[in-house]
Amino acid sequence: MADTAAQSVAQTGTKRDFLKLTATAFAVVGVGAIAWPFIDSLNPARDTLALATTEVDLAPIQPGMAVTVMWRGKPVFIRHRTEQDIAAARAVKLSELKDPATDESRVQRPQWLVMIGVCTHLGCVPLGQRPTDNKGDFDGWFCPCHGSHYDTSGRIRRGPAPSNLEIPPYTFISDTQIRIG
């Protein structure tokens, strides 16, 4: 008699534990599922993503000139490099570079250099786009905030910046048009 009673107590005990466990698991899943829409709402909205590509017409940019366009709220530098610029960039030995990368790996067509114009040190915008700007010691770009010098391939040559200027994803839609993003 006592045995059966103990047995039934044990049974209801495990059953209840299982039930409680399942119910708790459901509650945890529910709370997690509720959290996701809130978190995801902080991600870029669809209209923001739709503006995530920019098309640029390269035709008016003369050799040696540069333009700055906005892409995802950041400046993108596009320079139409001269033969000298290209030659200078390609003459550098990789061993001299802080962040080794060949010039060929940084361009799709040698005369067009497309980079995100944000210094990799602390996010300032380097000088060097306008003809009157200080282009730094390597005739590329110079960041006035902490004195980083970039060469004609946008690679870091001197100063505190850790890496080369970043290359955004872009494609040539035609010979004179690119789409960034």
Binding site: T12, K15, R16, L19, K20, T22, A23, F26, A27, V29, G30, A33, R46, D47, A50, L51, E55
Partner: protein, 258 residues
């Protein structure tokens, strides 16, 4: 107590149910279009929505803006990216200012909004005999029984019954509150040519454009309903579990004296 609760629930239900009836005013109640999206698990007929966009573009857009929609939204009704890019590019969009400080025209892109036929409300009124063609972006949720209402309105033009004196430039439509509407009957048999060969009857065009407008007003509908089914199932199971735990927790209380 249960009886009281049921009675109160019923009373509340009746009160709330009767509320929407009021704004129908003197207009005739709309005809039921039996739309695919009408019932609570319904979806939008993509082909109809695409045809509806064509009707909007070729007929309605002459007077009505849809300023909340962007070309990219059209991807959701099943048009291909190439098709939508072509549609966008066929429109001139004002952009700028450029480096000289001038505004300039360029072809539309996916991210651009639908162009509006008039620069502002005053211009729209001036061009339309004083009437303002409303923006159609959310028209289906901005009217009671919106889909059926617009459908009935578009197909409901008739000669005024004897004794009704129409105002200058007005048209008779019993589904419009007051019966007199400034918009003329715009849909005529064969007015647009559907690429899929669907005969462009007035009824067909009206249904298709209403499908398109219903999607435009609530583009989240299908996602919302799908998610709703999952949430309801989850909650139903959670409810059974919670009730089971509650029963067990309370059962031990009842077997003991206190």
């Amino acid at each position: 107590m249960t009886r009281i609760l049921t009675a109160l629930g019923l009373l509340a239900g009746l009160t709330l149910a009767s509320t929407p009836a009021l704004a129908a005013g003197e207009a005739r109640p709309p005809r039921d279009g039996h739309f695919s999206f009408a019932h609570i698990f319904g979806t939008f007929d993509r082909a109809a929505a695409q045809r509806g966009f064509q009707v909007y573009k070729e007929v309605c857009a002459a007077c009505h803006s849809m300023r909340l929609l962007s070309f990219r939204n059209l991807l959701e009704i099943g048009l291909s990216e190439q098709q939508v890019r072509a549609i966008a590019a066929s429109v001139e969009v004002t952009d700028g200012p450029n480096e000289e400080g001038q505004m300039f025209q360029r072809p539309g892109r996916l991210s651009d909004r639908f162009p509006s036929p008039f620069p502002n409300e005053q211009a729209a009124r001036a061009a339309n005999n004083g009437a303002y063609p409303p923006d159609l972006s959310v028209i289906i949720k901005a009217r009671h029984n919106g889909a059926n209402y617009v459908y009935s309105l578009l197909t409901g033009y008739q000669d005024p019954p004897p004794g009704v004196q129409l105002g200058d430039g007005m048209h008779y439509n019993p589904y419009f509150p007051g019966g007199q509407i400034a918009m003329a009957s715009v849909l005529n048999e064969g007015q647009v040519e559907f690429a899929d060969g669907t005969p462009a009857t007035v009824d067909q065009m009206a249904r298709d454009v209403v499908t398109f407008l219903a999607w435009a007003a609530e583009p989240e509908t299908e996602q919302r309903r799908r998610m709703g089914i999952r949430v309801m199932i989850f909650l139903a199971v959670a409810g059974v579990l919670a009730y089971g735990v509650k029963r067990r927790v309370w059962a031990e209380l009842k077997t003991k004296p206190a």
